[in-house]
């Protein structure tokens, strides 16, 4: 128990040391947003209290094992037969009741502080839709649809601009969990859940799906990019542009528009308006492929198009059996979608 706490504390310290780097850890004890920090405070309180209980009971256990062990001196004699004691029973009933009351009060306060927090007018709204096995992000007020990498602005504690997430699912249950930003909340079909985050520091925060959702639950990874105000505004402007139309890659675009790609994917300004897969209008803006399963490089993209199972076995994207020439053209076309 103690070892855990020491380890947790040291992990926590190392995470704080590493805060200067861009990419976060996934340590729940390195909170970087108000809900996560509030939970962390409660966690420390609960850990201290349970550690104290552990020490008391463990001491009693060790003491009685050592003190009352069978010695050869009293072989054959039975010890005094004690049947119980009302006073002692009352004591070890009332003390735990009091501990539970204290724990409950502390917990209820945090539940209320997080779940019933008012939404400030400056809050950003994002709708998160879970799919097997990727994330869709919609910004209803900004007219943006993107996937797998959530961009949000930093929230200055003096002028908070938290992000309020509406969580829904297109198929099975999923769960949105970025440990440094907050606890997890499930995405459940036919149900709308909500959570909020307000990270004050820019950076990349990692997480992943935390509710088993099928074959590739493990590679349904999450990246939250917390941008400075200026970076976020620039990102929004870029996302609001229609997709690039580059005449140099017409061949690739023809491959894209004449295979089944368009049944599942959308690229604004083309025939593609499918909704089963991620929106690709600004695909090259993302640093990863296949919901974080691989880095978004030309080689990985070509492999992903050729044989999705090589990167993410069991993903729902089919292999289109394209010729090498078509694959090259299609890769080149997708590379222009910045």
């Amino acid at each position: 128990m103690k070892i855990y706490r020491l380890l947790a504390a040291s992990l926590c310290l190392s995470a704080i040391d590493g805060a200067a780097q861009q990419v976060s850890s996934t340590n729940i004890f390195a909170p970087a947003s108000t809900p996560a920090r509030t939970i962390f405070g409660l966690s420390v309180f609960v850990l201290v209290l349970t550690a104290a209980i552990f020490c008391v009971v463990f001491t009693l256990l060790v003491y009685s094992v050592v003190k009352f062990r069978d010695r050869s001196a009293d072989a054959g004699r039975e010890p005094a037969q004690i049947y119980g004691s009302t006073q002692i029973e009352l004591a070890w009933t009332i003390i735990p009741v009091l501990i539970v009351v204290v724990l409950f009060m502390a917990t209820a306060r945090v539940i209320h502080a997080i779940q019933d927090a008012p939404k400030p007018p400056a809050a950003l709204d994002v709708t998160v839709i879970g799919h097997q096995f990727w994330w869709e992000f919609r910004y209803p007020k900004l007219g943006i649809i993107t996937a797998n990498e959530l961009h949000i602005p930093v929230s200055d504690p003096a002028h908070p601009t938290p992000t309020f997430l509406k969580l829904m699912s297109a198929d099975t249950d999923h769960s949105f969990w970025v440990p440094e930003l907050g606890g997890k909340t499930d995405l459940i079909p036919n149900r709308v859940n909500e959570m909020w985050i307000d990270p004050p520091r820019a950076g990349i925060y990692l997480g992943q799906c935390a509710q088993y959702c099928g074959t590739q639950h493990a590679k349904m990874l999450l990246r939250v990019s917390v941008d400075s105000r200026a970076d976020f505004a620039a990102w929004v402007r870029a996302q609001q542009q229609p997709a690039v139309q580059d005449t140099k890659v017409t061949a690739g675009r023809r491959v894209f528009e004449t295979t089944s790609c368009i049944n599942c994917h959308t690229v604004s300004g083309t025939a593609a308006n499918g909704r089963f897969g991620p929106d690709l209008a600004h695909f090259m803006n993302r640093s990863t492929l296949a919901s974080g399963a691989a880095e978004n490089t030309i080689a990985n993209l070509r492999l992903w198009l050729k044989n999705p199972d090589a990167i993410k076995p069991g993903s729902l994207m089919p292999a289109m059996q394209l010729s090498d020439a078509d694959l090259d053209a299609l890769t080149a076309y997708l590379e222009t979608l910045r």
Binding site: I39, Q81, S85, E89, L103, I111, D171, L206, T215, G314
Partner: protein, 557 residues
Amino acid sequence: MSTNAIAIENLKSGAQPWTATLHEWVTTVDHKRIGILYILYALCYLVVAGLEALIIRVQLVHAHNSFVSPQVFNRMFTMHGTTMIFFVAMPILFGFANYLVPLMIGARDMAFPRLNAFSFWLTALGGLLLYFSFLGGNGLYGAGNAPDAGWWAYAPLAAKAFSPGHSSDYWTIALLVSGFGSIGTAINILATVLCMRCPGMHLGRMPLLVWLNLVMSGMVLIAVTPLSAAQLMLLVDRYLGGHFFDTQAGGSATLWMHFFWIFGHPEVYILILPAFAFMSEIIPVFSRKPIFGYPVMVGATVFIGFVSMSVWAHHMFTIGMNSYANSFFTITSMAVGIPTGIKIFNWLGTMWGGRIQFKTPMLFCLGFLFQFLIAGLTGIMLASSPFDWQLGNSYFVVAHFHYVIVGGILFALFAAFYYWYPKFTGRLLSERLGKLHFWLFVIGFHVTFDVMHIPGILGMPRRIYTYEPGRGWEGMNLIVTVGAFIQALAILVFVWNLVVSYWKGVKAGNDPWDAWTLEWSVSSPPPTYNFASIPTVASRRPLWDMKHPEDPDYRYE
């Protein structure tokens, strides 16, 4: 007290063809034989589900491992969980209850011997159906060949759209069939305890093991029925066009969660109460004192029975319930800690001032106390719902419930094996192998499950077949896998001990531990109908009264 220890001679001698012996065992309605069938059946599945756990651990030994495919991995954790709960833990505990309850209350058999046999064979059929899915689960779709929706089978993953083929059907029907077996056994234990006690044994004189199994059986009746109902609804969805859980037609995913967990959480107590029962019999005998605070122990058990029915949604803290519901299930879940704590204190009170003998059963009891204390405290952390929003569905939870089920229930079961094996077979298990088994298992257990908490704190979700490097999870997972193999080694020692001691063990006699309850008054193994004449008791420890006529218990109770 008039215990009649005269054995009824076994009429059949050993010399008969093996087919006749087999026929006797298959057609038996003797509670002791059915108990042993349950236990042997569960031990087989313990090995199978243990191997599945090892496959899981090998796959997770380092990041991006490809020992098995994601499909196989998902089947392995689904089958591991389902098997361990429904076809190891439940039957093995029912087996002990079957064997011990009639002996401890001075009865000649269970109330309904034929129902007893029927219940066992239903459970047995359930397990076979579940494993037949490896052969028959493909269906016409060529889909996966064993259930892979997790042991909760959350909707809509088990719906036709996401689980084509027949694997989910085998899962559903296996649980339905074994569920009816469980209900039958529960009714049987209730009727036996309420109607078959020997003269003098009023409710306040029943051994605690009997009390705990009585409460457990009541809980089985209440908790298993909603699960069976949910399985029927799922079958209606899959085959008759129902939409209970079919979210694509407007069904409710959360409805399944409620149905499942209103079974699933009481189930934890259904499993832990018999473990408490073993503790409450074994600790007093090896401390040489009566149980401390008997009435409080009974009260705490009944309280656990009631409160555990109102805590189920703490498995659902992350589904977006409102703050009032989250607060309610926080306080009920924490409240269960109170009677559980009282029990731990009473066991300590029993040891206090005693003369503790460190025989193998007692060693396992001490392991239980230590580990169950920690499991309870991590349970308090998870009951604190905001903390659960972080810890829920992570490896911290996996570590927590393995602490309960392995560190608690399995340790209690090992204690029970070492304690009652002489009664079952007439021979003691080897103490030397027993101590080796204990220490190997303790080391393996702590290497595995202590370390497993940490990747959860570092953000590792459960049920992932692989993980990204660089998150601090790799070293931990390697250690956990090593620990799993140490535990496997310890199990081999245990099985070896069971087999060898059956032929080579020291002869036990009627009462090898100088114990106090009625099962030790008859021969080992007990004769066919247990008691040549029904005993009469005057206190909770009839054999103490007999051995210490100068200072009998009934003067103080």
